[in-house]
Symmetry: C2
Subunit: 285 residues, 2 copies
């Protein structure tokens, strides 16, 4: 059965349109909202737009990236559509789901939970399987078979792990200040214990450092930008661990430390153009 999308807003920018859609998600068992930026219409002879998924960080919705990153400017000129999903299921009223800003609502960690209490937390399936299907069925201007993925912080973790596990589905990945080694940081340990249980071997399926050793044959250099003034750098993010892991298996990584930049969308806005062009190249635009 086709997913019915309800358009809840539409604004023109940089010649294209930013639209928000609401739909019932069978993967998550609740209504979800996501945003799409459609570049200006391609000439009649050209193909559909490839899609670039953005995965947001803790506490975000589908809106933060679209309203704060300025990504649409270069997405418009490069002709790539941007897709921003929400960061967790919402409105399920699971006991305690909103008690923590770093766990539960707004903190899906882009995995499929295995623990009964959090069984609806299946953002991995939602992003990798359901959303591309929804776009295929509802947005004829998009070509979800040509896709890349990027994200910030928890969403950087999501982009890296999803890319490494699905080399057939994404042409490239990049990240801003990703949670690079979640099995060894407080955010990741808290989330994985609750969502995946106490068996740490299960956690490795969602850790970029473990995955790159398993799947080193990636199709494009991974680009990571990391602010040096980011207060989460050493305790939570640890991109140096991912760099080590990539070096060990000769996987191509460009990790750029940016002096003075913090963890905010101001940092993202400063370097977003480089990331979009990185993906546009991988998508053969």
């Amino acid at each position: 059965m086709e997913t019915k999308l309800t358009e809840i807003s539409s604004s023109k920018l940089f010649g294209g349109y930013n639209k928000r859609y609401r739909h019932f998600s069978p993967s998550l068992g609740c209504y979800m909202t996501f945003s799409v930026y459609f570049p200006p219409s391609p000439p009649p002879t050209s193909h559909k737009f490839p899609v670039l998924y953005w995965l947001s960080g803790l506490t975000c919705t589908d809106e933060n990236f679209m309203s704060k990153s300025g990504a649409q400017r270069v997405a418009s000129s490069e002709g790539v559509a941007l897709i921003a999903p929400d960061t967790s299921p919402r409105g399920l009223n699971v006991e305690g789901e909103a008690d923590n800003w770093d766990f539960g609502v707004g903190a899906g960690f882009y995995l499929n939970a295995t623990q009964e209490k959090w069984k609806n937390w299946r953002m991995y399936d939602y992003v990798v399987k359901e959303l591309p299907q929804v776009l295929s069925e509802n947005c004829p201007q998009l070509d979800p078979t040509r896709a890349s993925i990027f994200g910030h912080s928890m969403g950087g973790h999501g982009a890296l792990t999803i890319y490494l596990k699905n080399p057939d589905k994404y042409k490239s990945a990049s990240a801003f200040s990703p949670v690079s080694n979640p099995i060894n940081c407080p955010w990741g340990q808290k989330a994985f214990t609750n969502y995946l249980g106490g068996n740490k071997t299960d956690w490795e399926e969602y850790d970029a450092c473990c995955l790159i050793e398993k799947y080193p044959d990636i199709s494009a250099t991974i680009l990571i930008d990391q602010g040096e003034a980011d207060k989460f750098l050493h305790e939570q993010l640890m991109p140096n661990k991912f760099e080590e892991a990539c070096r060990k298996v000769n996987a191509p990584l460009l990790l750029r430390y940016q002096p003075g930049y913090d963890h905010s969308y101001y940092f993202i806005a400063t370097f977003i153009d480089d990331h979009i062009r990185h993906h546009a190249q991988a998508l053969n635009l």
Copy 2:
């Protein structure tokens, strides 16, 4: 006595810094917060940065423009500082001050109220007199004697009226979807009745259409962008009235209607570069 500024946040972007400051405002009788974007430091031989004031619309604080417009990218390359004040006094607990989104808190209309109840609503003095003084005293990298002004909606009204009344203080003005003829629209009539009383002659001091007839000798072409899909266009904004008034006195105006664009920051983000370059030119950058 010098105003003491407290820095409440600082983020690097596009090589410069976005900072928020809090201070006690004698003009308004309350604490106020404003934002500044400092471009990357000029070379030692060069001068201080000129300042470009942004006045926001109804319901906004000092943050909306800084986080959503993307203005810092070109402000950085052009070497102009951006100053974003709040839109009204806050925290005074005047009865009913927050009952309406289009009046009271978040809706100062950049005037000096004359009615006793709203005596603290003196955003005109705050923007024109107090803020430049505060910047002079506290920010040695800025040169507030070289200034221009722009804004959105209610803030577009503010920018136009302040510019026309102070040809010695601002080199240029521009606006996105300004409230162009407030004495003849519901937002303006509601605000002016409450802040200025029932004598409509007093209102004309804060109406761009009346002011341009009084002060037609402006130093630079006024640039206005207006979205054609803006739901407030015909009832509240009426830039056509300002166009007529300018034509009558031969004042230079460039009014651009932008097909498909609405009233949001997505519209602003799309055309912000043109506005900053317009001001940079008037500021001799």
